[in-house]
Symmetry: C2
Subunit: 441 residues, 2 copies
Amino acid sequence: MAAEPYRLTATEALKAFNNDSLTVEDYAKSLLKRIEERDGLIKAWAYLDPTQVLEQARALDKVPKEERGPMHGVAIAVKDIIYTKGMPTQHNSPIYAGDQPEVDGGSVIMLRKAGALILGKSRTTEFAATVEGPGTANPHDTTRTPGGSSSGSGAAVADFQAPIGLGTQTGGSTIRPGSFNGIYAMKPTWNAITREGQKIYSLILDTLGLYARSVEDLELLGSVFGLKDDEVPQPPKNGVKGLKFALYKSMVWDQAGPGTQKAMQKGKELLEAHGAEVEEIELPADFDKLPDWHGCVLKCDGRPSFRPEYQIAKEKLATSLVEHVEEKHGYSRKDYLEAFDAISALRPKWDAIAEKYAAVIIPSIPDEAPAGLESTGSAVFNSWTTALHFPVVNVPGFAGSHDMPVGLSLAAPRYKDQALLAVAKEVGKVWEKEGGWSSKL
Amino acid sequence: MAAEPYRLTATEALKAFNNDSLTVEDYAKSLLKRIEERDGLIKAWAYLDPTQVLEQARALDKVPKEERGPMHGVAIAVKDIIYTKGMPTQHNSPIYAGDQPEVDGGSVIMLRKAGALILGKSRTTEFAATVEGPGTANPHDTTRTPGGSSSGSGAAVADFQAPIGLGTQTGGSTIRPGSFNGIYAMKPTWNAITREGQKIYSLILDTLGLYARSVEDLELLGSVFGLKDDEVPQPPKNGVKGLKFALYKSMVWDQAGPGTQKAMQKGKELLEAHGAEVEEIELPADFDKLPDWHGCVLKCDGRPSFRPEYQIAKEKLATSLVEHVEEKHGYSRKDYLEAFDAISALRPKWDAIAEKYAAVIIPSIPDEAPAGLESTGSAVFNSWTTALHFPVVNVPGFAGSHDMPVGLSLAAPRYKDQALLAVAKEVGKVWEKEGGWSSKL
């Protein structure tokens, strides 16, 4: 083996297991060593038991080749708001400290069946519903936030503690950490993958999120989870050459700092230099209200979602969540329905616009990861995309003024997830190579 | 005590506990005796452990009066697709036979906190997603179906084996059994009550359902679960007198049999005789497509929802659910989105129409419960109401040609749940008394 096993992407690890150059046990040991060396600093994990990991790994090594699943032996970090048998699920909430429901979330059932090695539970903000960091540090600069709420999965994948990870997104909880950590992140079409066994914040917004260090690995996860367009997309034949992109600075562009401003400009120029067409677009005026509508739906949905916890242990619940339940936001049911219905009406409008392009380029974050671990940063560039249900992939490649990673989002119409990944793969080749940022880890 | 404790409604039982005329233990014993006598015939329960019930009851009796919750001691049946600590959750699926995730659904957390006595798990069709009856019989005629998928909760409440019960509805799974069993049933506004810990069939359709033998008991459940309109509704002062109702025979009226036809006619006449106005209405032509759109969304949503079970044990999954995952229905993602978006666009239109009336009267079922326990009957009159998210209450009172119960639905705009209950209470007084059917149990 040239590289240390812990550095392998999921796809590379699969290859190594398949050609017998690596056992799952040795792979797991390499990852555990990396975790031991690094996690005191990064704090990506809410729960990880090395003995349990090695037991899983040895069991996987005993599976005959012909019975192995499509993710045989591949390690994965699971966000700690998704249920896992044999491991606690604590939601970063004192209410659920040490709690261990013996049930697997739907995504975890599929992962286990595919032969994945569940490393452990990655840190999250409380119920994936607050912006207070869970103590996790950005591996590229440990004085900065890795973003949230999928803090642990984002940081673990960037830090080579896991090749892939599960996150979730209700506002910007998958794409923001993806960008802050300089890795690929995908928010698939809403409900394209089951959310069974994933704590609810907002039914109409919550989406399972995927992390990886390569698009191939996102495709692998997508195939295990059944992500499937109406038509199998033809991969671009000449890279990005001849593809037509839209660039939408978004209705909150005034919140973009220099890192994102430069990335948007450079991302456009690079694609054009490689023969793509990039057309800057505006969206109809109604779209400008999406961030507010999203906020209304989110806060109002927090009422039914956190009412059980509020009733049993209000004093152990984050103030912001108590306020959702107590409706301190001041939104009426009427306000909620207006926002809910208005968002619904814009979904087909987005699809009609986006389907004219190979992808729509939008910002992933206001700027590189801010200093401090207290706040996970702003989701203002993501929340409207979550509301509209369409798939988004964060592609890394650019640098902020402190050389922290800045990614850009590629977006597509709903249920064009596979097509989006195929395009993201080509775009990534350009941006990762020439965007100006690469991981020093 | 005049009546046997098992015959008490929840509200009546609360009163008896409060004035010390009944202990929870004696109440539980009375219910257990009823269950023992009857359930060999009715088969309402998937799981019920008398020892566990009595332990709960004794613990509740020890709670000092000032610490008692708003449902102190009240027994409830929980549909077996909702997680409960200390009891198995089996979804009527061989895949989950004996499975016991140690977690409470959100509704169950709130029930326990309110002091409810969880009797056991009531039978459901497989994952609440098929129409094959789970062996439960209609207590009014055990050769007939109690409906489904909430078969056990509906039958148990009608049969005085529990005063109240939890169901769920994705098509007609709460309202249909309510009507077939001659009890009150409520499908609240979608997402007004958390669905946490309730197996997913369709995220955008699944709704927690409530069963009771009185509207007061539905109100009690609503208050524990946080069902709350923008404005606290003023209860009608003179019964139904002066109220204006709409009557909508629905776009599938051609499927109404004589029982429902007569009930709709008689329901109208009775309200008019008591001083209400009843105006027959039609809905715009787009509404006629709702049953088809609902079917498309339902089947397509079955793909992500049952993919985990399909992957691990396809051979143990109902054929209809295998077909959802394999997309035998032939709907494309494009078809799905068209249906999804078209339904979304009709929700505010329904609200605007319904808000002009005290309630809209619609059929609950094609006719009285059909013979045989194999099929749980047709949800054709319910599915479009589930798609539109508005609250529905089944009010019993009418009789089919075999003297089986026939109920009618009252419906309101979204988030007018409390107002709807207040109206249902007055309508129920008329229909239950003069509609021509009353329970012989």
